[in-house]
Symmetry: C2
Subunit: 227 residues, 2 copies
C-alpha cells in the first residue's frame, strides 16, 4: 500500500500522469478519501488537482493558505494503513517544504530523495536543498540525476544535452548516496504525457533498468532503517 501526496499546489501534475485528473475527492467519516489509481487499490493519491473546479483554475495563494492545506493533506486524508507515503514537492526550500516536514514530523519520515538535472544551475539548487535537509533534521536517502544523456533513437549516439555527472559529483562531495541516472527518454515522456503504464508498455526502454535500480536501492535502505 503506497500513498502519493502531491504538494505542488500551483502545478499539480501527478493526477495527469496517472490519468485520473477527472476524478473527484469525496468525504468520509475519517476525512477525505484519496483517489485510487489502480484496480487493486494499492496506490492512493491526493492532490489539489482533485479539488479545483476547472483544470485551468490558478491557485493564487500566499504561503499561509498553502500551509493549512498541506497540514490537512497529511492529517485529514483517510490514507489507511500505508507501507510508504511518497510526497512530491515543487523545487525550492519554502512554504511547501517547511510545512511538509513539520506535518510529517510526528510520523518520523524515512528521509528525502533529491532529484537534480546534470547542469550546474540545477546542482546548485540541490546543494541548497541539502542544506535545508540538514537544518530540518531530515535524512537524505540519496540523489538522483534526471535528464541525464539522450540516446538518439535514429543513430543510437548519446548526447549529454544538459552536461553530465553533476548529480554524482554532488553526492560524492556531500557524502550522500548517489542513487543513479535516469536518461532522457521520449517513451518515458510519452507515458507520463498520456498517463500510460511505462513499465508494461516499454519494458525494453533504457530508462526502465535505471528506474528499477533506483527503486531497489531506496527499498533496501528504507528496509534497513525500519527493521
Amino acid at each position: 500500500q503506497v500513498g502519493i501526496l502531491d504538494v505542488d499546489l500551483c502545478g499539480p501534475s501527478i493526477p495527469r500522469m496517472f490519468r485520473v485528473q477527472n476524478n473527484d475527492v469525496h468525504q468520509c467519516d475519517s476525512g477525505w478519501v484519496p483517489v485510487f489509481v489502480d484496480q487493486d487499490k494499492s496506490i492512493s493519491l491526493m492532490s489539489i488537482g482533485f479539488l479545483l473546479e476547472k483544470p485551468d483554475d490558478a491557485v493564487v495563494w500566499r504561503g499561509p493558505k498553502k500551509n493549512a492545506l498541506i497540514k490537512q493533506f497529511v492529517d485529514d486524508v483517510a490514507w489507511g494503513d500505508l507501507d510508504f507515503l511518497i510526497v512530491d514537492t515543487p523545487p525550492g526550500t519554502s512554504d511547501e517544504h517547511i510545512s511538509t516536514v513539520e506535518a510529517l514530523r510526528p510520523y518520523k519520515p524515512l528521509g528525502a530523495i533529491l532529484v537534480t538535472t546534470p547542469q550546474a544551475v540545477s546542482v546548485g539548487d540541490v546543494r541548497r536543498e541539502l542544506t535545508f535537509c540538514k537544518k530540518t533534521g531530515l535524512q537524505v536517502l540519496g540523489i538522483v540525476e534526471n535528464m541525464s544523456g539522450f540516446v538518439c533513437p535514429h543513430c543510437s549516439e548519446c548526447t549529454n544535452i544538459f552536461s553530465k555527472g553533476g548529480g554524482e559529483e554532488l553526492a560524492k562531495h556531500a557524502g550522500v548516496t548517489f542513487l543513479g541516472c535516469v536518461p532522457l527518454d521520449p517513451q518515458l515522456s510519452q507515458s507520463l504525457e498520456e498517463g500510460r503504464d511505462f513499465i508494461q508498455e516499454f519494458p525494453k526502454s533504457s530508462a526502465f533498468p535505471a528506474l528499477a535500480r533506483i527503486a531497489q536501492q531506496i527499498l533496501d535502505s528504507t528496509s534497513q532503517q525500519s527493521s
Copy 2:
C-alpha cells in the same frame, strides 16, 4: 539599459548564467547597487544569490519574508534609468508572483511572457498562469515553447523528446501571441552552464535564430505599446 531581477529566491540561477555569482552587492545613498554583467554597464542584475554568504546557503523562508525582499528589490535598488526591467520568476502563481505584480503595479508593467515545455503537464501549469495574469490584470505578451525538439548532432535527425506543439496550441486556444519555439541545444546549455556569451560563441546554432526571432517580436510589441 536593461535590468534583470531574479525573484527565484530559493533557486537563484541567473548570477551563474552571467558568471557573476561571486560578485557582491554594495549600498549607496539611493539603495542597493545592482551587479553589472558587461563592460558597457548596459545590463544590471539583482538576485538573492549576491546576498548569501555561501552559495550552498538555503533560503528557508516562508512567504511573508519573501514578499518583503521582493518589494525591496523593486523599490530599494538603484536601477537608474532603464529601458526594460526583466523579472525572472520561479514556476507557479504564489508569493513571488503576487508580490512582483503588486510591487510593479505603480510602474505599469508591459506584460508577462509565459514559458512552457511541450508536454501536457507543463502546458497545464501555463494555463493556470494565464488565469493568474487575467485575474491580476497583467497583459500576456506571448507564450514561448522551450525544449522543443532535439536535433542530434551526429545524424541531424530531430526527436521531439518532450512531445511537440503544446505551446502553440495553447496560445491559439487562449487567443494570445505564440512567440516561437526554442529547440533543445547542447551548445546553449553549455553557454548557460559556463556563463559564456552564446550569441558570440555559437552564431550558427539552431537556437540562435529562434531566440532572435522571439526577442524581435517582443521588442516590436512593446514599442507599439509604449509609443
